[in-house]
């Protein structure tokens, strides 16, 4: 259980970023998020769950997370959601996650479905392009940077 998760329980901040060592417990996270908001009068709850697929002979994936910039990126999206009367929640793994386990859950709650459907798309796409997280394939006992599947953050190359 991550420190931030503990804080979120202590202070009941329901849109706080959650980081976990290893895979995510999908049913318990989705259920807890549901219970946190079931009386909040949101008409739509749209989660996105990322699962590690069996491909290219990998045993799993592994993640490095740079928390300070991930937090500021995430907080900017919390504000964007607020402007639309919506809230977001997000959980991500650090370290190793094996095949058919989950490393990423994002969710949007909004009064009406259209905002949540559009917001989850924008939020997840920007996450893939901007969030400071690095992915590695676990293969033959090695941890190999997934360079070909990675995206340079906007503005990269400043020092070249």
């Amino acid at each position: 259980m991550g420190i931030k998760y503990l804080y979120s329980l202590l202070y009941a901040v329901d849109d706080m970023l959650e980081l976990y060592d290893g895979s995510l417990d999908v049913p318990s996270i989705l259920e807890r998020w549901y219970k946190e908001e079931e009386k909040s009068n949101y008409g739509a709850y749209i989660p996105f769950i990322g699962t590690i697929r069996d491909e290219d002979d990998i045993d799993g994936l592994s993640f490095d997370v740079y928390e300070p910039i991930l937090e500021s990126w995430y907080n900017a999206w919390v504000q964007k959601a607020k402007e639309k009367g919506a809230i977001i929640k997000m959980a991500h793994s650090r370290g190793d996650v094996m095949l058919h386990e989950s490393s990423y859950i994002a969710a949007v709650f909004s009064p009406k479905r259209r905002v949540a459907l559009e917001f989850i798309d924008e939020f997840v796409e920007d996450f893939k392009a901007s969030a400071p997280i690095w992915k590695y394939d676990l293969k033959d006992g090695k941890r190999i940077y997934a360079k070909d599947r990675s995206t340079a953050i906007k503005g990269s190359g400043l020092l070249s």
Partner: protein, 73 residues
């Protein structure tokens, strides 16, 4: 001193440098063959804020981070 940190897959120990702006850092890092490819595709943050100008000034105690291509999820 300014501390330079290399994040994620860049396998390089942090540096402590006497520099006053990012232009000086670029000059120093470009001298290293192993860093050239990373410089082309890495973003730069000063004290955990992404920056877009080489004229960004640096002072004693600042932290510069290099962020290579990302892939969360």
């Amino acid at each position: 001193m300014v501390r330079i940190e290399f994040l994620g897959p860049i396998q390089k120990e942090p540096l402590e440098l006497e520099i006053t702006n990012l232009k000086e850092l670029a000059t120093i890092l470009q001298e290293t063959q192993e860093m050239r490819e990373w410089l082309e595709n890495s973003a730069v943050a000063v004290n955990d804020n992404l920056v877009s100008s080489l004229d960004t000034e640096l002072k004693d105690g600042d932290k510069v981070s290099l962020l290579p291509p990302v892939c969360g999820g």
